[in-house]
Structures are given as C-alpha cells and as structure tokens.
C-alpha cells in the first residue's frame, strides 16, 4: 500500500487511503462541489476508491471525511503559498 499522497493545486484537497475504501460512494454523492469520482482503478480488495477528478473544485470542506464510514478520505484546506 502506498503512502497517502495529497493532490496539489486549488484551495483545498483530499487525502485518500485507497486500501481502506469499500467503494460505498458516499464521498462522491455528498461532495458539495462535485470534485470526486469513483476511480476506474481497483484497490487490493477489488473496490473502486474515490479519486479527486476535478481538483479545482475542491474547497477542502471535509464533508467527504465526515461521511466516510471507513476513514478512507479526508479533506483539508491548503495554506496559500507565496508567488502564486
């Protein structure tokens, strides 16, 4: 299992722990900015974990983290970086 990797850019982002996911799709359904999709990839258990498909949409509100039954995803607000 790979380390959690935050995706870059935008105001917020999510961390996905794909191996914890059972593909219930709550995060995709509840995302208020429609930033997530279910991936076409499989995890080791054979489920499709979520993927941040539209990363510019993500605000880091963490509603995905709140509704995830398996603690497989959480959102965070990015710190503004200088020069951008």
């Amino acid at each position: 299992m790979s380390e959690p990797t935050p995706t870059k850019k935008a105001r917020g982002s999510v961390v996905i722990m794909a191996e914890r996911c059972k593909g219930c799709g709550f995060c995709v359904e509840f995302c208020p900015t429609d930033a997530l999709d279910l991936s076409s990839q499989y995890n080791a258990k054979g489920y499709h974990p979520p993927v941040l498909a539209r990363k510019d949409n993500c605000t880091g509100c963490d509603i995905c983290g709140m509704v995830c039954p398996d603690f497989a995803i959480y959102g965070f607000i990015k710190k503004p970086t200088k020069g951008h």
Partner: protein, 389 residues
C-alpha cells in the same frame, strides 16, 4: 389526524398488568422496532413485545446492554421506524448519554422507565419514584424533555400512545415514567378499535432534495425529518450543528440550536402539560401526586375531607414539562401543597419553586420498596396548614 394500523390493535377488554398494557399501547401507536436489555420490573414489557412483534411485522432485539439498546433505537428511528426501549433505574442511568444524543439530534423515540427503588441495584422488585429529576436533568447540557406518569394499566396503554404522538410531534425523546406498582398492577384495560386511536405520523419532509435542510425548524420550532436511504443528503451528529446538520462549532450556532431545543418544549408547554384535578377550586390544601402515589393519597384525602378540611387533588399526567402556570395560579389561592412521593422530595422541589413562598409546601417522603401508608399522607395534610400563613 391519522388513526392506528388495525393489525396491531387488540380491540376489546383485557385483564392485564401495566407492563403488558404499555406493550399494547406501543404496538397500537405503530412502534415496530424495540431494542432492550430486560430488567425487572420492566421485563414483561419486552416479553410481550417479543411475543407479539412477529405478528405485526416488528423487530425486537435483545441487546448486549442498555447503552446499545438506547442507541440501536435511534438508528431505527432515522431509518423511519417508531421505536422504543424499556428499562428500570440502573439501565436508565446507562441510557443518559443517549437521551442527550436523541435530544441534540431531535430523534423521536420513547424510553420506558419502570422505576424501582435505588440508588444502584437497590430493590429490583419493589417500587419507587426516584428517577423523576434524573428524567429531567440526567443528560449533560440543556435540552427540553417530555415525561409522562401513568397511574393505572389503562393509562399505561393510553399514555404510551400519547408518548409516541408527542415524540413525533416535537421530535424529542419522551420518557415514560412508570413505577413497579403500576407496572405489575393487573386491572381491566379497554383497547378501543383502531379507528378510535389517534396516531401522529412522522413529520416527513416532502420538498426537493436539493433544498432540503435537515434541521431547519418550522413555525413550531420543530424541523421535518427524512428517512435514511431516501436519497436526501443528511448528516446527523451530536456535535453542535447548523441547519444542514454539519458540525459548526461556533458560539452563534450553539446559541441558536440549544435555545431552540429548550424553547420547542418551553414555548409549547401549555399544549403538552396534562393534569387531572379533583376539588381543587376553593380548596385550602392541594395534594399534588403522580403515578402510584395518586392512588395511595385517595383514602387520605377522603379522610381529611370527612373531617371538614377543604382538600383538592392535582395529579400530574405529564410531569415534564411541569405545569408551572397552574401551580403558580393555585399558590396564591391555597394555603398549602402536600406532595407525597416515593422519594425524598423531587417533584416537591418544582411545586415549591412555583409556589415561591406564597403557599406552604410539604413533602411526604418515602424511601421506596412499598407505597405510602395513607395515614402518613393524611397526617401531612392535617398538619400542613398549621405552619402556613
């Protein structure tokens, strides 16, 4: 107003105890999920529920403890069922945290407490009324609550239906405060036909899914519910939440939410309070009772009246919210209140608070284990005016 589903209504006259009457009341009211951890003296309620539920399409689960029971019924409530759990003192203590959760998440449910003598394990098979203040203040934080006190098997049936109706109307946990005497008392119970039983259906939201706000209150300060799985976005949490249901831990949200939880009972209190009066107008002394003490007080009241004392009787049917307005009114007309209780003075404190020194308030305490000797209540009535203004 909707009426009961005939499948659960055993119309006719029965000779059953208060516990069984409570089960029948729940089934008639439409309760179809009960989780419980049987405990004397409430066991007969769940015994009958377990026996009857397969025939009405209900589910009963015997849980691992009272904590699990009181949380399982909340899951079932959000899945759209009318739910109930049943316990006695020690289990009631364990359920306190979840009464707070149900109050915070505005989950309609009925919690039956067949009171026995405490504290702790106490006298498992003997009566008391020691949980009355715990019913009001048992969970941490501020919230409004409703508690009912039946005094006969017939009332165990009638008021259980009322308890479910109030729970649905105001979306609060309703506490059904029986006592061992009423629970194990066998009397005639008349169950009317289903079309005579009024049942409050769940307040369901029917608008669009996009505009749904799980905790946006209506005019009576109560929000409408949806069922989990119907496709509405909802989030139910014990954390301070905004109208969407998402945690919002700010001073402003806390003030709005908790004020509403308190106000929805406080401002509707006049619609909820229920008491029975007998000879209160023109009385010098009013005996305030609830549950089994309302029956042990009767011989005492009769004796006092036969000796020329003007004694009235006020019986609380709804203990919480307390009928503050009525007691205040009476306190300026009467000389004394006498409050017999199977505890060392709990509802007495409320009577005393509302009397505010305008009338003498006398408690007739009892440690529980049996009922009052009417002689003690009579003597308290007789002596109550001696020290009064």
């Amino acid at each position: 107003m909707a009426t009961a589903d005939p499948i659960g209504v055993l119309t006719g006259a029965h000779f059953i105890d208060g516990d069984h009457a409570c089960s029948e009341g729940a089934i008639a009211a439409g309760c179809r999920f009960v989780a419980g951890y049987p405990i004397t003296p409430s066991t007969e309620v769940v015994e009958r529920i377990a026996e009857r539920f397969p025939f009405v399409g209900g589910v009963f689960i015997q849980m691992e403890d009272e904590i699990a029971s009181s949380i399982a019924i909340q899951g079932a409530a959000w899945a759209g069922k009318k739910t109930m759990t049943v316990t006695s003192g020690p289990g009631f203590s364990l359920m306190m945290e979840h009464i707070g959760l149900a109050a915070m998440t505005e989950t309609p449910l009925v919690l039956v407490d067949v009171q026995r003598a405490g504290p702790s394990t106490g006298l498992p098979t003997m009566p008391a009324q020691g949980d009355m203040m715990q019913a009001r203040w048992g969970s941490h934080g501020d919230y409004g609550i409703i508690a009912l006190c039946p005094n006969s098997p017939q009332e165990c049936f009638d008021l259980t239906i009322k308890a479910f109706n109030l729970a649905e109307q105001y979306r609060v946990p309703v506490l059904f405060m029986m006592d061992e005497c009423v629970g194990h008392m066998i009397e005639r119970v008349v169950i009317p036909s289903a079309d005579k039983i009024e049942v409050t259906p769940r307040r369901m939201h029917t608008g669009s899914k996009e505009e749904y706000l799980a905790f946006a209150p209506k005019a009576d300060l109560v929000p409408d519910m949806v069922k989990a799985g119907d496709g509405y976005h909802m989030h139910v949490t014990g954390l301070t939440h905004d109208e969407k249901g998402y945690p919002n831990m700010t001073v402003g949200t806390q003030a709005r939410l908790v004020r509403r939880l308190v106000d929805k009972i406080k401002l509707n209190a006049e619609k909820i309070v229920d008491y029975r009066e007998d000879g209160v107008e023109g009385a010098d002394i009013v005996v305030v009772t609830y549950g089994i003490t309302s029956r042990t007080a009767l011989p005492a009241i009769e004796q006092a009246r036969s000796e020329g004392l003007k004694v009235g009787h006020l019986r609380l049917v709804v203990a919480w919210p307390f009928p503050e307005k009525r007691i205040r009114e009476l306190s300026s007309k009467v000389k004394a209140f006498v409050v017999p209780e199977l505890n060392f003075g709990q509802m007495t404190l409320e009577v005393e608070r509302c009397a505010a020194g305008r009338a003498n308030t006398v408690c007739v305490p009892h440690a529980g284990g049996t009922v009052h000797n009417p002689k003690d209540i009579y003597e308290a009535i007789r002596d109550s005016v001696k020290g009064a203004k």
